[in-house]
Structure formats: structure tokens, C-alpha cells
Subunit: 427 residues, 3 copies
Amino acid sequence: MAPRSAPSLRPLLPVLAFLLQTVFIGLFAFFIEIRWTEETSQVNTYAVFQDVHVVVFLGFGFLTTFLVRYGFSGSGFSLLVAAMAVQWATLLNGFLLSTWNSRKKIAVDLDSLVDAELCAASSLIAMGAVLGKVNPVQYMLMALLEVTSFVVSQWLLQTLIRIQVMNTIMYLHIFGAFFGIMTSWVLYRKGTEQQHEKEKSDHKTGLFSMLGTLFLWMFWPSCNLVLLSSKWWTLKNARRREIESNLSAVYGTYLALAASSITAFGMSVLTSPRGKINLVHMQSSILAGGVAFGGAMTAVHVPWIAMTLGSLAAVLSAVGFRYLKPHMQLAFECHDTCGVLNAHGMPGILGWFACLLLQLIDTEDNIIAIRLACYHISILFIMLAMSLVLGAITGFILKWNFWRAPQNRKCFDDQAFWEFPHLATRK
Amino acid sequence: MAPRSAPSLRPLLPVLAFLLQTVFIGLFAFFIEIRWTEETSQVNTYAVFQDVHVVVFLGFGFLTTFLVRYGFSGSGFSLLVAAMAVQWATLLNGFLLSTWNSRKKIAVDLDSLVDAELCAASSLIAMGAVLGKVNPVQYMLMALLEVTSFVVSQWLLQTLIRIQVMNTIMYLHIFGAFFGIMTSWVLYRKGTEQQHEKEKSDHKTGLFSMLGTLFLWMFWPSCNLVLLSSKWWTLKNARRREIESNLSAVYGTYLALAASSITAFGMSVLTSPRGKINLVHMQSSILAGGVAFGGAMTAVHVPWIAMTLGSLAAVLSAVGFRYLKPHMQLAFECHDTCGVLNAHGMPGILGWFACLLLQLIDTEDNIIAIRLACYHISILFIMLAMSLVLGAITGFILKWNFWRAPQNRKCFDDQAFWEFPHLATRK
Amino acid sequence: MAPRSAPSLRPLLPVLAFLLQTVFIGLFAFFIEIRWTEETSQVNTYAVFQDVHVVVFLGFGFLTTFLVRYGFSGSGFSLLVAAMAVQWATLLNGFLLSTWNSRKKIAVDLDSLVDAELCAASSLIAMGAVLGKVNPVQYMLMALLEVTSFVVSQWLLQTLIRIQVMNTIMYLHIFGAFFGIMTSWVLYRKGTEQQHEKEKSDHKTGLFSMLGTLFLWMFWPSCNLVLLSSKWWTLKNARRREIESNLSAVYGTYLALAASSITAFGMSVLTSPRGKINLVHMQSSILAGGVAFGGAMTAVHVPWIAMTLGSLAAVLSAVGFRYLKPHMQLAFECHDTCGVLNAHGMPGILGWFACLLLQLIDTEDNIIAIRLACYHISILFIMLAMSLVLGAITGFILKWNFWRAPQNRKCFDDQAFWEFPHLATRK
């Protein structure tokens, strides 16, 4: 170990961590205050908030533990990144997307925290594409830049073409996935194709990632719920339509995920040469239904469409894992560790497409239909363009040797970053 | 591996999965619509619903991961079965136990989803008896038949002797356990008694099943709560008695489980020849108190009876695990992998008996007492008879070679169904 | 194994378990009844209660699974201890801190259960200091004495200097940590310094304890929330100040924990000779912010102070783990398995100090300030004195050979207490 160990994080990580945390404390001190809202019942916010909280910190964190020797890093650095991204997103959302109050402060409440967690989720998705190939300093920088990019994209859409944030926050899956893919593409290093015997799961790590997956699966209805503009917790003053849309979101997400699961098992067996199920593919595909429905739910009002969408998303995701993922690595030299393109990117676009289609079918007037299509296409186009360009720029920044990325043979390995008792020699 | 591997799932599982999912989508499209209920506060439903959701998908799934090489199958196939059972139970509950509205549709809401999850829980209990010995296609068929049998039994009780569903849903533990036992008995194959060195737990799989057990343990109060007819969430319009019964259910379940836990540890040490604790027995016994109290809670109004019931259930369950389970295998040729008879069956019957006894004590009029006893005994009798007969029939259906059950030496082994990276040879 | 196995638990554990449970049932039968409160909305209690429930039973239980061969014991005995402590604390809180109603009964509701769970949490913290070195009988006795000591200390403060329980319950971290430290100090045995190769974590056990840590981390806001006297669930009748303090507690805990996490990673790298992160230190340090803020939250009204406090707590905790913990063992012969002094004790005192400081700054009148300081210092002094003295007495009681503590070489080893299939020989 001694002479050829991974580069030490010693000066870099503490400096970045303390610097960021100090800056955050300073900015919070000057600009943030807690908003006292008497009218909204905080109780209800809180239960749904806790579900989202579990999804972001436990679900995404443990989803990444499938790598056989990267469990500490997967779950630990997800926590580090999310804890940082939430603080930064709270500040950025405040600066760019909120209004300042009379005391020149930005008022925050639990809703702000939920929005910040959704931005953090977006950065965790992006992180999935480069997982195992960079060091925690690079994860933190990437998350900083991803959150910034996502919030700036929302701000652009809001100021340029007056699209409200509540209509763009649901693009978090698409934005995160394509951002991550581009970063990973720029970071691609020759000679890493064949050698990574560490890039696999075993009996126990598979169960840990199953656990993370199940928490994502179980609490996804809450995550889709908070994407709706008519928030669940304002129920008392809500009109019938709002209750309808909330119940429809929960029930639809649930059914989309259930349909997704059954289809995912079928697809995994169908596409396997030996008729066996691939655990990692299955875990991502069962979630694809939730992503797709999340993008389309404002236009879906009957359960069977949610189920159909869930099944299609699982088919798309499973096919992507089996055929697109290896192809991308060989042909495009783009390596996507967690397969975020197939788990979040493609199902997100399917959801976007379904939403457009269903809204067009509902619209009788041709002119309105064309306007609607333009509106939809322009959001997707700007989101995609921003994620691809800014993801690539992020990749170039992370490529800088100054950040001391781990060597190829230290990729996907906890020993590069974590103390292990049996390796600890007395200094 | 190559020549003597387990039978491939290739044509069977995808065909069954896609067929079922397509049929479900079709039936949902024609018959199901979401009910908009303005009067009930959906918020409160949602928090309790999420607890039940966690119990069904995470709790039961991870409870089965104790088998040393069957963790992927235990958790994965539980998800597959539950996702299917919930959809099917929603449809069946709608067809048989609900009323059709004016548009010839069945209206569903979150309450329907909770009821469907309870039916799915019943099928997961039955699955526990055959765990490791059949393939996922057989699990799915078994769950389909179990849910059908349970709902049909409830329907029979409703139409024949006018017993409302809210009084029969709590038989889910007894029904599932005896159904599974009978299926397992019919499926019993000679030559499997001694050889299964895979049917044990190790240090890590024991912790995974501890995790599942804890989620069942922690959220069991919510599961008992939803069994009550006076639902928690209609609290605002509730009279004093309804609040009382709800609080009593939560508090009683909690105390029954706590008493159960302490007694289970004591019993496990007491019945062990070397004075040590058996993890798998203990995990089931600490839950027995929740099952027993769930069956009796409408008649229990003081905490100490809940605690006594919890302790007795743990004693019964622990004794059953040590003495009844090996006896059943040797004498009756009935192998019960998860010990569902001792974890759900016997404690359920204890709860039923306690309920009857407590109600008889409360009743002063002899004629009413006799009528009450007849009522209780007839429900149990019909439920037991239906579960035993239909469980046996299910066993005979599953025994058909067409379903390609794994060979004896592939039982309790993930490698029969799952891809493992280090085994994957290039085709 | 045969001749030199650990002392059997056979007569002792069952006797203690059944005796305690019988006594509890008897005391509940005579003195406890469930309180029917119509005015408070039980629904909201329930969601927050469930979070606390998860923290106590899952969080603390799985936090202790980091020891490589002590996972069954860590999680199993935590459950045993917590299930017992909750019942005992309900009784003791009722006897000493509640009022008897007209029927000579103590009325309990979900609030009582939450308070009892907080006392159980205190005993689990104390248990962390001796983890792996005693047997389950000793854990149970220790928890009984710890809960008794904590409730008696609260009762003393209430009767002697009229300090209400709602102002002393938040000392649970300090009380538990120092109680445990003293017990561990008295129990210290020569010859255990070097040999414990079992006192370490591995790849998989690290992930299990990460899971427990995350549940503590995620649901800590609920735990701090229930410490407030103005309970969340009385929201409807609450004045503006109560909503404010509740939201402030949740938001502040969240930010303190996020700041704590980032600082903990930085500190772990900074203090490591090779620039690597220590998982066990990191897991405790990320929680330190929650402990510290919990002690100070009544005086913290702006987010940035919560963040600063969280960062300082992480620094204190990380430094304590690296330098204080080995020093304590070598110089003071005090071994603290889970490092509860650094995870709960020191951050708790930091929180206490911050609370005092912030209240003094807010106070303009010198006389009131001096009185306030005396009030604060006297609570801490009595709590510390009681925990140290009673912890030492508990240590002497546990040292008695009658309890049959495991031999040195059976410490930190599940095989002393649990059946393992591959070790089971036919009798």
C-alpha cells in the first residue's frame, strides 16, 4: 500500500469542506430568515417532507452501495454531497427564484427545504454517472456546479419565457442524468474498460442496494406529490381539483411503480441469455415507472394510463441497460456507473413525451395545441442544452490534475479514502 | 454449472409477467376509477398508509433474507409478488366486496389501497411457508390464488352469514399461514430433509432479516390500526369511542410487542440446550404479540391484557419453533421455511381465542353469549376450512412439472434465478 | 468451543425476563389506564411518535452493529433493553412525575409513550459505553438502573428546585453518556487493551451501522421537536410563538446536522495521519450537531447559529474521538466502546453552554442574568453528579460475579450468546 496508495485528501478535502461551510454560515447569517406562516398547517408538510428526506439521504445513498468495494464511499459521499447541496440550493433558490422581503432577507420554510432536497436529488443523480471514478472533492465540486446549473436553468426559463419554477422542477431527473453523462464522458480515461473487476455487486452489497431501492420505491409517491404546485398540505383551503390531483399523483405513482416492477422482472429475464434476472438492472428499472409518471402526472387522470406508462418505462430502461449501456461505453467512450441514463434520463424523456401527447389529445383547438407543443419542446430543449453544455464544462473543470483523482486501479475502491482497521499500521 | 443448472425462467416468467400486467391494465381501464372524497382528510390516511406500505414491501421482504444464499430472491420476489397481489386485490375487492357506482365503475381511494396491501400481506405470509423451494413463476401463481381465495372467503362470509369485511380482514394472518402450510405440505419432496446446508443464516444475512423484522415491529401499530373499522383519519367526525379504540389499538399493539420481545428472549434461552438465543426464532416470536393482539384488539381495553397476550403469544411461538416445527417436518412431512405457522398461525388463533373469551366475559346474557360464540367459531371455521382446502388445491396446481420448479439441490439458492457477475461467462 | 465457552445465560436471563415482564404486567394492571383526550389531535402525535420510535429501536440498534462480530448482540440486545426500558419508564414517569387521577390510576397517552422512549434512548446511550463487554442480563440491569436514576434525577430537580420535567428531559444525552462512562470505568478489566481484534468494523458491518446512523440523522428533527414543551400536535390552539419555536427546532436541527456532516468529513481527514476518513468517527460526529442543537434550541432563533453550533460540535466530537478516546483508555483505564462521551456527552455540554451564553446575551438585566446562570449551572451540576455517582454504583453492582460476565476473549463476540447453525452440534 505505502508507496502506491491513492493521493491523500489531506489538504484538499478539509480546506474545501471548512471553506464551503463557513461561506454557507456567512450567507445564511446575512440573507436567510425563517418564515412564520400561520396559515399553512406545518404538520402535514412535515410527514411528506420526511418521506422526501428519506429518499434523498437514505434511498440515493444506499442505491449506490451495490459496488462490491465502494459501499462506504457510495453511502458516505452521498451524505456529504446531499448535506452540502441542500444548503447551497436553499441559498441559490432564495437568491434567484424567490422574492426578498422588506428586511432584505429571504424567508424560508419547510417548502424551501423540500425544494432544496429536490435539487440535491438532481445532483445525486448526476453523481451516479461518475460514481467510483473521482474523489470526494470532485463529487462536491460537481454537485456545487450541478445545483448551480439546474437553478440557473430554471431561472433562465422563468425570466426568458416566463415558465414558473413549479413547472420546471420536475425536470430534475432529466437534467441530472444528462449532466452526469456529459461529465462522465469528458472524464473518460483510456484503459479502464476491461480491468474493473471491482465494478460488480456481490450477495451482500446487492442487498444493501436493494434496501436503498426499496426506500426510493416506497416513498416515491411523496416525491411526486411535492412536485405538484397545489401542495398537499394546503388541503383545507383546497378546491376539489387540488384534492383530485394530489390523490391522482399518489395513486398513479403507486400503480406506475407496481406495473414497472412486474415488467422489469419480465424484461430482465427476457433479455438475459441464460434466462436469469440481473439485480442491478432490475433495481433501476422498477423505479423507471416513477420517473416517467412524475414527468407526465399533470396530464394523467386515470390509473390505467399510469400503469401503461410504468410498464413502458420499465421496458425502455431494461432494454437500455442491456444494450445501450455497453454500447455507450464501447462506441462513445462514455461510462455510466449507475446507469443514470437508463434509470432517470430515458424514462424522464418518456414521461415528458407522454405528457405532451396526452395534453395534445385533450386539446381541441389546433392553435392552442401548437402553442402547447412549442412550450413543452422549448423547456425540454433548454433543459437538455443547459445540462449537456454545463455538464461538459464541469467535466473539464474536474479533469484538472489539481483535484488529484484516484488512479485507475484505485477506482471503485473504498481503501483509497477510508481507514480500514486491518490496514492501519502504526506510524 | 453449465449442464446441470436450474431450469431457465426464460419463456415462462416474461410471458406470465407481461400477460398479468396487460390483463391488469385492461381491467383497470374498464372498471376502476379514482374516487374523489372531499370529506375525508386524505393527509392522515397517507401517513398511516405509508407505514403499512413499508411493512408490506420492506418488512416482509427483508424478513425473508435470513437464508444465507437466498437474499436476492427473498427480497426481490417478495416485491414482485406484492406488486402483483396489490393490483389483483384492488380488482377483486372491487368486484366482490364493493359497490359499483352509477357509471358502472368501481371507485377506489387510499383506503382501497390499504385493504389491497393487507391482502398482499396475507399472500406474503403464505409465501413464507414455501420460501426457497419453488420458482418465481410459482410464487406469482400462488399469490394470485391466495389473494383470490382470501377475498372469496370474505365474500362468502359476507353473503352467506352477513359478516362485514371489516370483521374478517383481520383473519389475514391465520388464512395466509394455513394456506401456505397446506401448499408446502402438498409440495413436499422426499430427500430434502437433511441436505439443505443452505437453509441457515449467517452473520450478515441475520442482520438483514433483523432489519426487516424491526420495520415490521415498529410499524405494526399502524397495521393494526387500519384493521379497525373506525378509521383513524375520520377523527374529526369521530365520537369519543372511536378515538378510544384507535388509541387503544396503537398503545396496546405497542405494549403487546414490547412484552412479546422480552418474553421471546427469555423463551429462546430457556428452550435452547446451550442457553443461547436463536436469532430466527427470536425474530418471529417478537412479532407474535402483534399478531395475537391484532386478532383480539376489539375486545381489549386495558393495557395489561395486551401485555399478557403479547407474552403468551411469544411463549406459544417460541415453543412452536423449538418443538413443533421439527416435528411437523419429520412426522407430517410438512416443511415450513419461515415458520409461518408459529409466527402467524398459532398467535392468530390465540388472538381469536382471547377475543372470544374477553367478549364472553363482558356479556352478561347467556343467549347473547352463545350467539356470539357461534358467530366467532363459524368465522374461524370457514376461514380455516377455506385456507386448508384452497391451499392444498394450490399445492397440486403448483406441483405440475410445467412450472419447472428448481431441483432439490438448487433450492434456497439465488444462483438458480439471478445473474452473478463472477459466474457470467461470455456467450 | 465445548470446554471453554462463555457462561450460559440459561437460568439467569429467562428468570430476569419473565420476572420483569410479570412485574410490569402487574403494575400496569393496578396503576395504569389509557387517557382519552379528545382535544388533542392524536393523528399528528402519531407521525412524530413514529419517527422517535424508529430512532430508538432502529437507529440506536443498528448504530451499534459496526463491531465486526457483534451485530446480532448490538441490534438484538438494544431491542431487548429498549422494550424493557420503555415499560419501566412509563411506570416510573407515572409514579414520580405525573399526577394520579381520581380513580387512583395514572393516565397515559401517546405523549407518555414518547417520554418513555426518550428515557429508553438515554439508557441506550449508556449501554453504548459498555457495549460488547457485558452480557444481556447486565445490559438489562444497567438499563433499569439508568432509567431509574434519570427519572429520579428529574424528580429531584422538580421537587427540590421546581424545575419542570420539560426542561430536564433534554439532558438525556449528557446523563446517559456520563452514566455509561462511569459504569464502564468501574467495570474496566486489565488485559483487555491490546487483544481485541474483534473491536473493529469491516466492509459490511460498517454499512449496517451507516444505516442506523442515517435513520438517527434523518429523524433527529422529530426527536428534538418532541423535547419542546409546546408540542407540535397542539398546533391548532397554538399561538404564533409556538409555531415559530416548532419550525425553528425542525429547521435548526436539520441545518445543524448538515453543517455537522460537512465538518465531520473535513475533521476526519484532517486528523488522520494518512488523510483518510474513519467511518466510525464520522458516523458519531455527524450526529453531534443534533445533540448540541437539541440542548440549545430554546435559545437559538436564527439558522446560522444552529449551523455554527453544528460545526463546532462536529469539531469537538472528531477531536475527542482521535485524541481523547485513546487517552481515556490508557490514562484513566476507561474504555468507551461506542465513544458516547464524544458523540453525546461533549456535544451535549457544548449545547448546554451555548444555551446559557445565548440566553445571557439576550438578557439585559444583570440580576436576571445571574439568576439564569445559577439556574442553568445547578441543573447541569445535579445531572452530572447524579449520573456519575449512580453510574459508578451501577458499575459496582454489575461487577458482581453472580451476573456471569463473558470472559475477556468472549467480549465483542456474538458466539457467546447466539446459536450459529454451523456450530450447532447434535446433543
